[in-house]
């Protein structure tokens, strides 16, 4: 699901730091993001917007970090509103609810581990590509000519 590829150029030290920080941002937000899913997306989006004019390496990793949050944003939002409806309406906990929450938790956990791994690797200048998300990132982010 995660593969290490050679980037088109050797990133500078400061680029590695910024690129790695884009993953760290989503990690920091994940504790708040699980109960309030929008926070995850917002922090990564703000970081992306702040760095979208920087070098190719930074832009590429900021975009991958942002895209990876999108899927979880929808999944977490659904679980958030489902929980709210259980607390505030006559909806009750069911096997479907437990199954959904566990599935979402599992995906969050996998992403959490993958994010830590990627942040460490990117900090060392190693280019880490995520399955599916890297393909979209390659479509969106192009090197400046």
């Amino acid at each position: 699901m995660i593969k290490i590829n050679k980037f088109v150029y050797k990133p500078e030290y400061h680029e590695e730091e910024y690129a790695s920080n884009s993953y760290v941002m989503s990690l920091v937000a994940i504790a708040v993001g699980l109960p309030f899913p929008i926070v995850n997306l917002l922090t990564t989006l703000i970081f992306y917007l702040a760095n979208r004019k920087r070098s190719y390496f930074i832009r590429w990793h900021c975009t991958q970090a942002l895209l990876s949050q999108l899927f979880l944003f929808f999944a977490n939002s659904y679980s958030f509103w489902w929980t709210v409806s259980i607390i505030f309406t006559d909806e009750t906990v069911s096997n479907d609810y437990f199954a959904y929450i566990l599935t979402v938790f599992l995906f969050n956990f996998i992403e959490f581990i993958a994010t830590i791994y990627t942040a460490i690797k990117v900090r060392k200048g190693i280019h880490v590509e995520w399955w599916f998300y890297s393909d979209i990132t390659n479509l969106i982010v192009k090197p400046k000519i």
Binding site: F71, A75, I87, F88, T89, D90, T92, V93, S94, N95, D96, F98, A99, Y100, L102, T103, L106, F107, W131, F132, D135, I136, L139
Partner: protein, 266 residues
């Protein structure tokens, strides 16, 4: 194309895992139902103890037997476990009826006296039974008070105060209007199955809406507007033709009302 395929794979993986987890009976493992049932039993006992001390329950055999006969017929016709429903007639002129946890239904004598015929009483009883069958009471108490407060109320010192709060809520505005509408529609279904004219439930609402200057209509104040209840029940039944019969004869109905009148003046 490759990206779309990968996206579908991720989504499929999500749903396969979700489906896999769905096969596990988490509700049973977490003993959600068991804990809730135990909580309801304890709460039901506490509230009933408190209510039976603060309300005057009519013990007249004729009155109780007559109302029980009506409830028996509703339950039998709708395959409802009769042992779950416990009816208590309260000596109170207020037009009110409410349901407590563990299937205790309290009907004020004032409400029975305000019914123009037995079918209207069947409608009210069906409505309260519907709350039990639809599990509205515990859902609403948990939503309103919170599970933590409930547990501490049963085990801690706040028993008397919290009990009073639950009773106040149950007798006034605990249930949402959506729940009241659901119970109305379920009551209509019960009445049809019992061969009782369901339009009488709507007629009772109309009487209440016309006479709402009485000022003691607690039952309707917590429910959707009586006129709109009359309308949606009538709209639901529009064009429907059924054959109806009465659960108890006219004589028994008048005897019941006169007994309630005598109980009131005594």
């Amino acid at each position: 194309m490759k990206i779309v395929f990968k996206g579908i794979v991720i989504l499929s993986l999500f749903f396969v895992i979700f489906y896999g987890f769905k096969q596990i009976d988490f509700v049973k493992i977490a003993k959600v139902e068991g804990n809730r049932g135990e909580l309801e039993q304890k709460l039901g006992r506490l509230i009933w103890d408190s209510v039976s001390k603060s309300h005057i329950i009519i013990e007249d055999v004729y009155i109780n037997k007559t109302v029980d006969t009506i409830v028996d017929k509703i339950c039998l016709s709708n395959k409802i476990d009769r042992s779950k429903v416990k009816i208590h007639i309260v000596r109170d002129n207020e037009i009110n009826a409410f349901t407590l946890p563990m299937g205790h239904i309290l009907i004020n004598s004032g409400l029975i006296s305000s019914c123009q015929n037995v079918d209207q009483l069947v409608g009210i009883l069906s409505h309260e039974i519907a709350h039990i069958e639809l599990d509205h009471i515990m859902k609403s108490i948990i939503t309103e008070i919170g599970i933590t407060a409930l547990v501490s109320m049963i085990t801690g010192d706040g028993v008397i105060v919290a009990n009073q709060r639950v009773i106040e809520l149950l007798s006034s505005s605990l249930l949402s209007q959506a729940m009241e509408k659901d119970a109305d529609m379920k009551a209509v279904e019960y009445m049809i199955n019992t061969n009782v004219n369901p339009r009488e439930l709507a007629n009772f609402m109309l009487i209440l809406s016309v006479n709402n200057d009485i000022g003691i209509l607690n039952w309707i104040s917590s429910h959707p507007d009586s006129k709109s209840r009359f309308d949606y029940i009538n709209n639901y039944l529009e064009g429907e033709v059924f054959e109806y019969s009465s659960i108890i004869d006219e004589m028994t109905w008048y005897e019941l009302r006169s007994k309630l009148f005598l109980d009131k003046i005594n």
